[in-house]
Amino acid sequence: MSGLDPYVWSNLVTVALVVGGLALARFVRGQRLWREASVELWRRRRVAIVVVGVYLVIALLDSIAWKGGVPEGTVGVLPNAPLTVVDRLFLDTKEASYSAPLADVEFYGGRPLRRPGTHLLGTDILGRDVLYMSLKGARVALLIGGLTSLIAIPIALFFGVGAGYFGGRFDDFVFFLISTLASMPGILLLIALIMVMGRGTLSVCVALAVTGWVGFCRLSRAETLKLRELDYVVAARALGVSEPRIIWRHVLPNLAHLIVITFVLMFSGLVLSEAVLSWLGIGVDGSWGQMIDGARDELSREPIVWWNIGAAGTALFGLILAVNAVGDAVRDVLDPRTLRAGE
């Protein structure tokens, strides 16, 4: 037995994430401050939040996979492959080549389609349903944004809070590390990391995290420096409360709003970075970036094939716009300092 299949892992991680998300939601409801903030957020950005939610649901439906249950007579790799709900919805939709949205015949040459009138967003050159591929992209995008943040933010917190709170040698080291990393051109370091670690989802996320944690680390270090001089923290130290406990009880909660803001603002940048990586040929398989890259030549086809790049571009744009909108509001709600600037 050589460990679990990847898809089982992915299922477990998904379940863990959902449980974690629910727990977080419960926690938010329990805290007055956070509850009010989220109510305010909902008031301000109802549409954007719903849009993000839709993307989340699609990604979840595409994250739980299981084998079997394929109709009799299906051939090829499908019967042995783990399939998700989204896969199952589009099980036998492959055509020979391009079909325009909802067309009955093939786009070039006009041969009859296997499944006329069912391709809501048409098919690509290999006859794959574009709606299907766009839906699958949601999971990839959320994975890139989410996983990367999950790696980057804890690292940044560890170094930032540690450096800010303890100071001394550790602070010097962290500061040096930050200035070193910050002086390396981000995109190049990113590419170098991916080339060194090999292509693939995980290495793209790790590379994005390594290049992305510096900013937040700097922020949390500065914030911790201020927090440790606050009266109640000084008092707690004087009372002999253990340092980890002080950090846990007094420092981290006061950084929570920064974490949320950073997470949301980082997210869209990460997804857009992936599009650039895709174009360089080192992106994540199945991402919208790859679809855009693959489809850009099609704009010059005559007659023009627009649905492919249109679908991927809209899906990407929709998510980024919604997240950016939420992010702006999150910052306004949680960080009163920037509010002042708008007065």
């Binding site: 790799v77 042995n80 010059s300």
Partner: protein
């Protein structure tokens, strides 16, 4: 106080306005002075041909350059003993640097001698490297020894020429290589000397001798009539030893790879691998120095095949070559901008990109729109062959797997629908290949059908079961069988094409991963045997079936000899037939042998034959004397352009559409004016 202030503000405001106006004027000038013409203006009356290249060739050394990209340059810069007639079909050899076609003399012991006499007073193109032969020298006469020197370079293992095999028919060729390597190994002082001294010290190649300064005798161990074709290619061009000694890449000098020194009709005057190259006529070329010779290949031919006269291909008969003053080639990596520039008249010739096929073509002819632009279409099945190969040295797909692997290869071959591939990706421009031999080459049979190149999913599935991979499941892992497909096409388009193959194989339950690297690295991988499934193609060097069937001749094995048998296929029966077919005259015996070889290939499946391309070349109406050669051979010296017509058309086609600029300007003003008014109001 207050007045002064207001005046001051006004002054500043006026200055600001002035700066603003100046900026707007500047911007307008910029916009108006620009056009989409990517070239600086030509000198009046100068005839320039414009082209594009995708990626610079790895090497321009005529001993190693073996791809169309390199030949586009080396073919124009280097001259050879023999060359092909520009118009006659089937292709016909004629003397070029040689005074006449060589007579073939068979010796009693089975050896064959070809005697070439070089023209007198031929000069190399002017080059700094000739200073090595005396201060201030810029050129020198071409001697038979220069050809012998280049043939010795082909044998030199350090040069790494890909055509060692055909040239090893020359007597003493391999001995020379071995002796050279041995001396270098044992004697460090020897290895440090310039190569021409090394070659001389080893004694040169026995079968490439120079009885007098202008006579070269090529002695073959046994008959090999194809050698003449090889002597018409740049591999055997005269190369001055000075160039090899001088262009070593040290002290800021370029490497010989990037700096050709030849005797062809053109010289490479600008070579920037990232951006452009330029060819200009070589004033030392014998056509220009001795027009009175009327040497073949230096004047436009006055006879061709039937139909050439009607096509206007004989209008220039008898005129001295070349017609062009310059060939300007720009790097244009992306195919779509490249094609759009062709349509704008900025490139003189182009293929048809798939994206625009439906716009360019209507049925079998050009669309009315293209005809109205005066574009002409050249169509020909090119003597080439594209295939997917299996590395027969590999444990899973290769010969080590025996019967199992053969069945696997057969199954994989049965599910690839080439017709569909051609339709989806190449607009049907191609002929599904049944064997490596393309139409127009002896041994091609129109009604031959390869039993494993007919799409048959059921049979393929059955074969998978026989091969021990039922449903594509590899019994060792219990998972889908995993294979690697090495592709050098990293573009999005290339990856999509590769996915077409992998999707087809998915129907068998085989999981084929794509490993995409660039062309040079792909070559490197091939050299090192690190591949399972690959895609490759072959364009004929010369019109003979031997030139296609040798791709799977055991001796040519990539792993064995570094030859182009990338499949590393080796089959004793096939090899015997090949050797026998190779030297045989075209006739029933030869056809029978070729047929049997096809059978073996069909059964053994070292490769999956894909297609022979159909070339659709587009030319603008102002380009004259275009006739496809089939072989990779640039014919810039015959080409001519009607400069006035081009200038007129370009002007006509590239009038900018300006109304959106006015709309934008209007919108800008509409936004700005209220703003300025608010500002004014406030100030008062």
């Amino acid at each position: 106080m207050e007045r002064g202030d207001v005046a001051g503000t006004k002054g500043r405001g006026r200055r600001r306005t002035r700066v603003l106006v100046a900026l707007v004027v500047l911007a307008t000038l910029y916009a108006a002075g620009c056009s989409n013409d990517p070239y600086p203006p030509e000198a009046p009356g100068e005839k320039v041909l414009y082209g594009a290249f995708e990626e610079a060739p790895r090497s321009l050394d005529p001993a190693t350059a073996y791809d169309t990209r390199a030949h586009a340059i080396t073919g124009a810069v280097y001259a050879t003993l023999l060359e092909y007639h520009f118009l006659k079909r089937p292709l016909e050899l004629m003397p070029s640097l040689a005074v006449a076609m060589p007579e073939e003399r068979a010796l009693a012991d089975g050896r064959v001698v070809y005697r070439f006499e070089l023209r007198r007073d031929l000069l190399f193109a002017d080059d700094a490297c000739f200073e090595l032969g005396g201060a201030g020298r810029r050129t020198r006469e071409i001697l038979a020894a220069d050809v012998a020197f280049q043939i010795a370079r082909l044998a030199d293992p350090k040069v790494g020429s890909p055509v060692v095999e055909p040239f090893s028919h020359i007597e003493g060729f391999s001995d020379f290589a071995a002796a050279l390597a041995a001396r270098r190994e044992s004697d460090a002082a020897f290895a440090a000397r310039p190569v021409h001294e090394q070659y001389a010290a080893v004694g040169g190649i026995r079968g490439a001798r120079t009885p007098s300064s202008h006579v070269l005798e090529i002695v073959l161990d046994k008959p090999y009539p194809q050698i003449l074709y090889w002597l018409a290619m740049e591999f055997s061009t005269p190369v001055p030893w000075e160039a090899i000694a001088f262009y070593d890449g040290a002290e800021g000098r370029p490497r010989f790879d990037d700096h050709p020194v030849g005797a062809g009709p053109f010289v490479l005057s600008v070579y920037d691998k990232q951006a452009r190259y330029t060819l200009v006529p070589n004033r030392n070329w014998h056509g220009l120095r001795h027009p009175e010779w009327q040497a073949p290949g230096t004047v436009y031919p006055s006879e061709g095949e039937p139909g050439d006269r009607e096509a206007g291909l004989l209008e220039d008969a008898g005129r001295p070559l070349p017609f062009l003053d310059r060939v300007e080639v720009r790097r244009d990596k992306e195919s779509i901008p490249r094609f759009n520039k062709f349509l704008q008249g900025y490139y003189d010739a182009s293929g048809i990109i798939k994206e625009s096929f439906d716009k360019v073509m209507q049925g079998d002819a050009l669309s009315p729109e293209m005809q109205a632009m005066g574009i002409e279409l050249g169509k020909a099945v090119s003597p080439d062959f594209f295939y997917l190969g299996f590395n027969m040295d590999d444990a899973v797909v290769g010969r080590a797997g025996g019967e199992r692997s053969r069945k696997l290869r057969q199954a994989m071959s049965l599910v690839l629908d080439t017709e569909e591939f051609l339709r989806v990706f190449l607009n049907g421009r191609g002929l599904p290949a049944q064997s490596p031999v393309p139409p127009g080459i002896y041994g091609y049979e129109e009604d031959y059908r390869n039993p494993y190149r007919q799409v048959d999913l059921e049979r393929a599935r059955a074969l998978m079961i026989e091969a021990g991979y039922p449903g594509g499941i590899d019994p060792r892992t219990g998972e889908a069988l995993k294979l690697t497909f090495d592709s050098y096409n990293t573009s999005a388009q290339g990856l999509t094409q590769t996915r077409f193959y992998t999707h087809a194989w998915q129907q068998l339950g085989i999981d084929v991963q794509i490993d995409a690297t660039n062309y040079n690295q792909f070559q490197e991988k091939l050299r090192n045997g690190a591949y399972q499934v690959f895609e490759s193609g072959w364009v004929a060097d010369y019109p003979d079936p031997e030139n296609f069937l040798f791709l799977v001749w055991g001796e040519m094995g990539q792993s064995k000899s570094g030859g182009p048998n990338y499949a590393n296929f080796a089959d004793p029966r096939f090899d015997r037939l090949f050797l026998s077919m190779k030297t045989r005259e075209n006739g029933p015996r030869r056809l029978a042998e070729i047929r049997e070889m096809k059978e073996i290939l069909a059964r053994e499946r070292p490769w999956i034959e894909l297609f022979h391309r159909e070339d659709y070349a587009l030319y603008h109406g102002w380009v004259k004397n275009v006739k496809p050669m089939g072989l990779s051979m640039p014919t810039y010296q015959y080409r001519d352009v009607d400069v006035e017509l081009r200038a007129r058309r370009r002007h006509e086609w590239n009038r900018p559409v300006t109304w959106p600029a006015w709309v934008l300007l209007g919108a800008g003003i509409a936004i700005l004016v209220p703003g300025i008014r608010t500002w004014r109001r406030e100030r008062q």
